[in-house]
């Protein structure tokens, strides 16, 4: 049984919890409910970029299934790109509600845009190497370097410079500044969005495997 199918049951529950069950935050009010969608999509984009980097390392180290690994790394980077765009849009809406402007060039916003540009560069590199036999290895090296920059852009830079962005999950006091119901909803949402990513990623990989098979069959004939 495919565990990722649980997303079909979990997602309606999370939507109910996020919009009805969880209480509104003290100052932000109901606008704070964006939290249950913005944080999970941002989290999933980081997971997806990590998976892309790990697959790239395996591709360079191991000799087996190189073509499958290439697709697996690429698919995860593409999925991560979709989720990071969603995080940027939801974050921008939230910024308008709490800071008064859709875009403030806050260190958090700027660093995420830089991260996005790094992965846009990857996508153009990958598509430009279409006829290159070393496409897999070259793009794997790039993805590993991109993965190394990620912790700096996501966790370090926004904490070095003064930022308006709250650090409710990872902060200096090492405590989560959320009520119990809000915390449960947030974690349920993170799990559900991770399952959604897993489901989509698995589907993408299966389609890629079919493409490889179809190509091989084509050459056999």
């Amino acid at each position: 049984m495919n565990i990722y199918r649980l997303v079909f049951i979990f997602m309606p529950v999370v939507i109910y919890m996020a919009l009805i069950w969880a209480p509104p935050a003290a100052i932000l009010g109901d606008a704070s409910r964006i939290l249950y969608f913005h944080v999970p999509v941002a989290w999933v984009s980081i997971v997806a970029f990590l998976v892309a980097g790990i697959n790239s390392i395996i591709l360079l180290v191991s000799e087996k299934n190189r073509r499958e690994r290439e697709f697996m790394a690429h698919n995860s980077a593409v999925a991560g790109m979709v989720f990071i765009i969603l995080a940027l849009i939801t974050g921008s809406i939230w910024a308008k509600l709490s800071w008064g402007s859709y875009w403030n060039w806050d260190p958090r916003e700027t660093s995420i845009v830089i991260l996005m540009l790094i992965y846009i560069a990857y996508l153009s590199l990958y598509s430009s190497l279409k006829d290159n036999p070393n496409r897999g290895s070259i793009s794997a090296v790039y993805l590993i370097i991109a993965m190394i920059t990620m912790p700096f852009l996501v966790f370090i830079i926004p904490r070095i410079y003064p930022s308006l962005h709250p650090d409710t999950i990872i902060n200096q006091e090492r405590k989560i500044h959320l009520e119990a119901a809000m915390r449960i909803t947030l974690f349920a949402s993170i799990v559900t969005f991770t399952l959604l990513y897993g489901y989509i990623y698995r589907l993408m990989n299966r389609i890629s495997a079919l493409e490889i098979k179809a190509e091989e069959k084509h050459y056999d004939i």
Partner: protein
């Protein structure tokens, strides 16, 4: 529909999710079918 705007919002989001879930599930089934066909000798 109801006096609580959050309830209306939840209904709308739920309908969108059901639509997306059906689409994803159908896509999954189609891929499984093609996989079966490809694995046949």
């Amino acid at each position: 529909m109801t006096s609580n705007p959050l309830m209306t919002l939840m209904t709308v989001v739920m309908i969108i999710w059901i639509g997306l879930a059906l689409f994803l599930y159908r896509l999954d089934r189609r891929v499984s079918k093609i996989e079966e066909e490809m694995n046949e000798p």
